[in-house]
């Protein structure tokens, strides 16, 4: 009972304020032996450092005006056509999510996409929905794209490049499925045209930030080939941009520390320890029966669906923490199938999971009564198309490249 409360509260209350004491409590109560907790923390530590570096990198890119410039580029290339704009939004959102993580797409790119559509006089809804969906669907490609990937990456034993190679095809297939669904779902809005010609001059592309991101990406591949922890490449990229921004007085040291989201990092660490305690105390046996062994197409599909359901009930972060210890022994194929489920699945529910939705309903953070019907219908089409197709693509990748 005590354990149950400790677990449910951090999911409902997305705050380190609750999760850290909860982690302390499970250790104090002996629900998890201290050495297991230490091992979990040691495993999560580098992952969280990696995450913090990417968050800082994305924020500094925004400070340099990279996302603003993306908006100008999309407006210019769209040439007044909403359908062309949608293609450009897909290209931009997929790249930003893959390289700078889903946080960057949700927090930094979505407002830019809205502003771009509004500037063209086009209806912004298809583009904004595409952006929020792609922050999940397009986060399959690289370990840095999503925290779930980072956690799985650490558990799977795959190298950075092998992870990317195996996920490239599922990533492309999932994005293509998402594109087909959104284009059809919003056909009317896309046909309505755009009023204003793109007249304003586009802002200059911040070449230094762009080159740093490209360099960081190259560094991630290089470190992986050399057998060094790729987190160092991400940290180097963030450090280069930070040094320049500090030298030019574009940012301050406290702003950089804030961008690293330290409370969030503490929260992830605490959540990891709490979930480990729950998994050790019986959840592994209960769910273990549901996780099919084997890496055939059927088994992969079952794992992905289970992961998607779990991500929708709780949230994809605890879902992946629960499922990793159960799937890691089966092999990388099963771990990657979990990722397909937990990354694509959250598009089904507004707010990513029922737990978050219920929590938001309780606290009434925003008084707007959002039309959940349309959101859920779109999610249903998108997930039911993208998930099975991307699992098939993963199976093909595993056959060709080998797990």
């Amino acid at each position: 009972m005590v354990l149950g409360c400790a677990v449910i509260r951090p999911w409902g209350l997305p705050e380190a304020v609750v999760a850290v004491p909860a982690a302390g409590a499970v250790i104090a109560a002996g629900a998890i032996p201290l050495d297991h907790a230490v091992a979990e923390a040691a495993r999560l530590g580098p992952v969280i450092g990696f995450l913090a570096a990417i968050l800082v990198l994305a924020q500094l890119c925004d400070d340099e005006g990279l996302f603003h410039a993306c908006g100008g580029w999309m407006a210019r290339r769209a040439a007044g056509s909403p359908r062309r704009l949608l293609v450009l939004v897909f290209v931009t959102a997929s790249s930003v999510t893959a390289v700078l993580s889903l946080d960057a797409t949700v927090v930094l790119l979505t407002p830019v996409v809205f502003a771009t559509a509004a500037r063209l006089g086009a209806r912004a809804k298809p583009h904004v929905y595409a952006c929020t969906h792609l922050s999940n669907t397009a986060s399959l490609l690289l370990p840095v794209s999503n925290l779930t990937n980072l956690l799985a990456f650490a558990a799977s034993g795959l190298s950075f490049t092998r992870f990317a190679a195996l996920m490239a095809l599922p990533w492309l297939v999932a994005i293509a499925a998402e594109y087909a669904v959104i284009r059809r779902f919003f056909a009317t809005d896309l046909d309505a045209g755009a009023g204003a010609p793109a007249t304003s001059v586009s802002p200059e592309l911040p070449m230094f930030a762009l080159l740093t991101v490209v360099g960081t990406l190259a560094g991630l591949v290089l470190t992986s080939v050399l057998g060094v922890d790729p987190a160092w490449a991400a940290a180097a990229g963030a450090a280069i941009l930070a040094a320049r921004a500090l030298a030019r007085r574009r940012t301050t040291a406290p702003a950089i520390v804030r961008a690293a989201a330290l409370p969030f990092c503490a929260f992830v660490l605490a959540l990891g320890i709490v979930v480990r305690a729950v998994v050790d105390n019986g959840l592994a046996d209960a769910l273990g029966r549901l996780v099919p062994a084997g890496t055939g197409l059927g088994a992969l599909l079952a794992v992905a669906v289970l992961a998607a359901v779990l991500a929708n009930v709780i949230n994809n972060l605890p879902a992946v923490l629960v499922l990793l210890p159960l799937t890691a022994p089966i092999g990388p194929g099963a771990v990657l199938a979990v990722l397909l489920g937990v990354n694509i699945g959250p598009n089904l529910t507004y707010a990513g999971s029922l737990a978050t939705l219920l929590w938001r309903r309780v606290v009434r953070e925003h008084d707007t009564a959002v039309d959940l019907g349309e959101f859920t219908r779109l999610g249903l089409f998108a997930v039911s198309t993208a998930l099975p197709l991307s699992v098939m693509a993963l199976w093909v990748s595993l056959q060709v490249i080998g797990g």
Partner: protein, 160 residues
């Protein structure tokens, strides 16, 4: 006569032109734009889905809300320019179809454009939002085609 012209991205010029053609000089013309909840809602939801990043100041939905109001006002200014005569502007937010119906109460004419399949004559030329408004409008309605009106050759064959 009080004329309400519903301004929507993409299709509004046809409505403004229709208002200019059908309203006489002394009529009160109100240009109405409604910002839907869905887009800020989608952004709020996506941010809420990021478990643990509880920093309300970074919520993109709040930024989108502010931008949506500004964009609506810009659109109304553009429409007023095209109308080229004195008019009132009204910017609302909420559920689009319900806000338009509420705004049309007591008006003598509501001007709106079809927002469905505009290549064929028929019921599909009304999308769910304009269908709701036409069905529930508490005043006379002027329903215009946003671009060229399809010819009668697009009629489906008569039932046998």
């Amino acid at each position: 006569m009080a004329v309400i012209v519903w301004i929507v991205e993409g299709t509004w010029p046809a409505c403004v032109d229709a208002a200019r053609a059908h309203a006489s000089e002394g009529d009160d013309v109100v240009l109405l734009h409604v910002t839907g909840d869905e887009m800020p809602g989608a952004a709020h939801g996506a941010y809420a889905g990021l478990l643990g990043r509880a920093r309300p100041d970074r919520d993109p939905g709040t930024r989108v809300e502010g931008m949506a109001v500004a964009a609506g006002e810009r659109l109304l200014a553009e429409a007023a320019g095209r109308l080229g005569r004195p008019c009132a502007r009204s910017e609302r937010s909420g559920r689009v179809e319900r806000e338009v119906v509420a705004a049309a109460e007591g008006a003598d004419l509501l001007v709106l454009a079809r927002d469905g399949d505009i290549t064929h004559l028929g019921p599909r030329s009304l999308g769910p939002v304009s269908r709701f408004i036409v069905d529930h409008a508490p005043c006379p309605v002027l329903l215009v085609w946003p671009e060229t009106t399809p010819s009668t050759s697009t009629l489906p064959p008569p039932p046998r």
